[in-house]
Symmetry: C2
Subunit: 635 residues, 2 copies
Amino acid sequence: MPGDVRRRMRSLKLRDVKFDDTFWAPRIETNRRATLPIEEKQLRDTGRLEALKLNWKPGMPNRPHIFWDSDTYKWVEAVAYDIERAPGSVSVEALEAVADDVVRMQQPDGYLNSHYTVVEPDKRWTNLRDCHELYCAGHFFEAAVAHHEATGNAKLLDVARRFADHIATQFGREEGKRRGYPGHEEIELALAKLARATGDRKHLDLAKYFVDERGAEPHYYDTESQERGDKPRPRHRYDEIQAHLPVREQRTIEGHAVRACYLFAGATDVAAETGDAGLFEAVKKVWENATTRRMYVTGGVGSTRHGERFTADYDLPNLTAYAETCAAIALAFWAKRMLEIEGEARYADVMERALYNGIASGVSLDGERFFYVNPLESAGDHHRQEWFGCACCPPNIARLYASLGHYAYSVGDGEAYVHLYAQGSASFMAGEMKDTRVSLDVKTAYPWKEKIAIKVSPEDAVEFALALRLPGWCRKPAVKLNGKPVSVRKAEKGYLTLSRKWKKGDKVDLTLPMPVERVEAHPGVRADAGRVALRRGPVVYCLEEVDNGSGLNGIRLPRGSKLKATFDPDLLGGVTVITGSAKRRDESKWKADDLYSATPLGKPARLKPAKIKAVPYCTWDNRAPGEMLVWIPEC
Amino acid sequence: MPGDVRRRMRSLKLRDVKFDDTFWAPRIETNRRATLPIEEKQLRDTGRLEALKLNWKPGMPNRPHIFWDSDTYKWVEAVAYDIERAPGSVSVEALEAVADDVVRMQQPDGYLNSHYTVVEPDKRWTNLRDCHELYCAGHFFEAAVAHHEATGNAKLLDVARRFADHIATQFGREEGKRRGYPGHEEIELALAKLARATGDRKHLDLAKYFVDERGAEPHYYDTESQERGDKPRPRHRYDEIQAHLPVREQRTIEGHAVRACYLFAGATDVAAETGDAGLFEAVKKVWENATTRRMYVTGGVGSTRHGERFTADYDLPNLTAYAETCAAIALAFWAKRMLEIEGEARYADVMERALYNGIASGVSLDGERFFYVNPLESAGDHHRQEWFGCACCPPNIARLYASLGHYAYSVGDGEAYVHLYAQGSASFMAGEMKDTRVSLDVKTAYPWKEKIAIKVSPEDAVEFALALRLPGWCRKPAVKLNGKPVSVRKAEKGYLTLSRKWKKGDKVDLTLPMPVERVEAHPGVRADAGRVALRRGPVVYCLEEVDNGSGLNGIRLPRGSKLKATFDPDLLGGVTVITGSAKRRDESKWKADDLYSATPLGKPARLKPAKIKAVPYCTWDNRAPGEMLVWIPEC
């Protein structure tokens, strides 16, 4: 019914989902084995862990930075998920040591922030616009909830509760409180999560307050600047931090991409938890704008490094794309929340697009190097780094990988959903009393092969609906139940729902044909005019110099060219590559100093035959460094 | 001989050059009739003229801005040229009133600047990096020289002399002087011009000092910031103002495009006037970098609005091109100076490219509206404006148009050069004693037609060499002398030199065939990959929405497509248009909300037949507003 906004499904526990595929399982294992220990070392070496001990004094090196704590908290959250999903994490001891430091760091009034405790103790809450105080708080809440879920130990959750209570005494519309809200959003979704973990409505109310107050008049950032004795930022620039309008009046996605997606993920939570249909209408409009006007084919978002931000509809330059790893992650967070309310596969399509492409590109195959920026074209000068001064992306991808189980399956009221297909298993309780455990065993070589076999194994026969996502990229999906075809026409909102009394030995077979496809962009996307991207299944491809030589923009893909997909088990951890015939501008006679050269009419420049080989975009820059290109000129 | 750096030729007097063509003559007349009076009104309405009266007091509106004087001086210079080139300027009276105000504005010590006299009298010369004081001085020197040349009245030249003397007491390497130099260059070329007008070597020495001191250690901008109590700008950002290295050590063109081209134009002057071969080597290297790696096909320079600057080799985005009108003008200034030293047509090629394209685009055909930014593609939202808060471009184009005669012809030692072909005439003195007047009468419909007839009319028969530029864009030029073919193989450095005793009735005929050409960009220019620009003669073309409908990037120009050039006397003041067959992506079935859409292999997206019509780039945005595109996707 219209206006019925609520969360219709929830994720499985991480311990109830196993990945045993060749795409995600190695990445999740590498995350545990390489990434998390490396991040711990970086947090330690850069002084971030020491900062929690509050030992810093003026004049000492490694002055705690305003956003340092958030990096640590994301790592805490990641390790907690990793512990929860499977035994054997090597980071358990370090996690508990950090947790104990955080417990000791909390101030008597509940406040928690290393920078504002030792560096600028008199400046607490004086610059919400720029200083990331509430952002750090949000990341702490997420870490605390994950730690509690993983360990059953409430020591961090208690700190979080007290800190949230403290924040609630500072901010709100009541007399004597500041009417502030974060310049870098994140706390909204974190408070909704905390409220679910604690059952304390106060935390949700605070999230709702932060969403509702944003952009209200008189404008808090004007007031706050004046109180600091600073000149307020010009009004037209508040869109940089989504504070140009009240959230419910926003229709387009604006400003810093990570902040924008965190904000709207949090606003989605608030709408779902409070049944706020008006807020959800605004969220949906902004979602439509973000995903049908301002998203790269890789699921990356944020078109420019200037302000790391969204720009304008269809402005999606490739070489200068920002597409921060964190922004694609934030978009996936938001997509998951939309999916949980709406139950529509198109949200999962965006989530899957980001996961296999613009997120997975964010970390090297060995788990040791990271992209902050994920362009769709490179002149050969863009490479993953070991760490960043602003180190938001590495622990963000770590927490996502460690919690990937949350994204693959959900259960609702009498329903179980499969959103992502990956070899492995899932287990959940079904039946009217939720007392019957059901296992799903998935055999597939997805995303490389089109067949997916799901064995459904309830302890006892049990009635429930199994909703299988039919991906938006797939033109002719086919489904069989115990060997008999099921019409996919029955699918609603992109899910084919099989409702029956399931019994041991039941089997569902999906076939999701994956021809190589040429993707064109909307006519409004100037950067992609005259070009196509190659895609197969959910995977977007790119050309790399190491396979195709330099000068990738000299390649012309004839409009009728045949392209072939082949699995190469020895390449990049095992990937399907796309090969075929193309043409190539003959540049052998081009003079180096000719910036422009004319060809008389009727004598077009020479094109010579060429072969091309494309690899999954997410695996680029794992071999010899060089150029990269997603959108290939056609001829 | 190597190392022999000197100016080999000089421009004719403006009064000795007449334009009677259909391209420049109407623009020059419109400049007089519309642009100069409009600019006078703007200068008055915005308070710039009032500022010269030094009446401003704190609290009053229209506080004189640090660069206001420069706008006025450029207008003064423009009016002076316009007076010199032909009688009948409507701005004479206003010019003299402004000149008298400037005379009164000069301070007893010679100082001249409205802002620093009435707004911040205690801050003179304290922020050369940002505050445009020396830039305003430079523009005044140019105006003063032009005024003297035009009127014979030395009142402004005397002010300039005293002001330059004052500046020389402030800056230099001698004890007690500041070792400063301008953050916005311009004064270097202006001082060289002043030195030529006054014959005073001191002014040239000051220009040389400014060029030589730039980027030297200890770095003046560090010192200056510290003296102001400011934090110095980070070292790596000094490239924004070409102060990252000493000028002679620079090899690439960096930073703010207008400043960079003014600086190197000035450095070229200094090298020529002082015979400094070492400096000229550096200037040439930077020139090569600028024009073979960092210049648009229109002669525009400056790839990004962020810092209005040069970026990297081959980074030439079209939609977001900055290509400020002033920067193309500054490039033409520099080109002219290089040409005068080297006598090579390739410098005139750049000058001509900028004039017919990236400069002429800067003003509307009615002379009333101006582009500051000249992109090579527009989504339909870029239009000429009546004026700008930072109003450098309108008076810059006015002074260029009024002085265009300086660019068309030169005389050297026994030589006369024709650089630009336009119907009209030129007159100069020839002969060993320079006592014989020679007229050149040029009949041509250039740039629309390929024939040029030059009648040479000396008062008495006289020996000299007539050097005719064979444009770099022309593949098969043909020349006849008195009806007899002359081999163009004899051309050197792009000029065909006809040395003889010329007598009345001698006639030279050039044919410069102008097929429509498809221009490709260097493989390194990613923005133009898979695209071609159309050019005919020196004129670069573009597609406009008004002729071709919207969605210009949906057009595909087949590689063998036939294109036809036709002169349309009723269009845009009379222009040659290019028409022909192309294809067009069929977007009728594209769903508005599909950001990406896949086409199965072997079923490429539909292209439908289409006609295209291209108009000269410089005339775009003179009709119904809409999209514009220079680089057209091929198929």
